[in-house]
Symmetry: C2
Subunit: 137 residues, 2 copies
């Protein structure tokens, strides 16, 4: 019961970008140093984030990354969805295909309650809020 490393890293990378002076671009090297994420692995994630349009890259000397969509409009849920980490509405926690509101498994109701709470947290947490003053990143 946990998020994938890639999701976790991605959220922290984007939050770190928010806190960088946005007059300049931030490079992969700098992010890798800040977050202690292996450089090559980080660039792989960055390329994916460029591909889906969360960020933009400028190549060549003095290049780097910057947000394309504002950090206040990218949510944790968006990231989890990108890496197939989000909690699907229909998903029974015990993996029972026929479990639904009519025919419930023993955990159905409690799981729904937790699931909604988590989904709400993921949806309401923007990258901007993750990066806000006083929060550990």
């Amino acid at each position: 019961m946990h998020l994938s490393n890639t999701s976790k890293y991605t959220i922290r990378i984007l939050a770190n970008m928010v806190n960088h002076k946005d007059t300049t671009l931030i490079s992969a090297k700098e992010l890798s140093d800040n977050l202690k994420i292996p450089y090559k692995f980080l660039t792989k994630i960055m390329t994916e984030l460029v591909r889906v349009g969360f960020i933009e890259s400028i190549r060549g000397r003095e290049g780097g990354y910057k947000f394309l969509r504002p950090a206040s409009e990218i949510t944790v849920g968006d990231i989890l969805e990108l890496f197939n980490d989000s909690i699907k509405d229909e998903e029974c926690i015990l993996g029972i295909d026929s479990c639904n509101a009519k025919q419930k498994c023993a955990l159905h109701d409690k799981w729904i309650k937790s699931k909604i709470q988590l989904q709400k947290m993921f949806k309401e947490s923007t990258i901007e809020s993750i990066a806000a003053e006083g929060n550990k990143i």
Copy 2:
């Protein structure tokens, strides 16, 4: 954000065993048929459950499996622990090493709330309760 297939299967296997007439043993073949879990994969799980002492096996013709510990004393949490699927207390949802009660990540408090709720559900759900009358398995 999900449980491993092995954990899900295991919970359902044990619940299925509860609902079997316990005057007789239940065989891997029967469980595999009941739950549509591939026979060979199921026997692999069963051998592990024997190894850790949840169930007992009787080999040879007319053999099969039965509970060693009562189903009312095996919890979902026990199973998740066995397959490294449980939620650790210290674990930050964003994977931040230095995140703790003093220095929190943005999701810390909300995550703790959900985490406690889930841990409680896992701890309080016995195999017996999963198998109880009226529940989908």
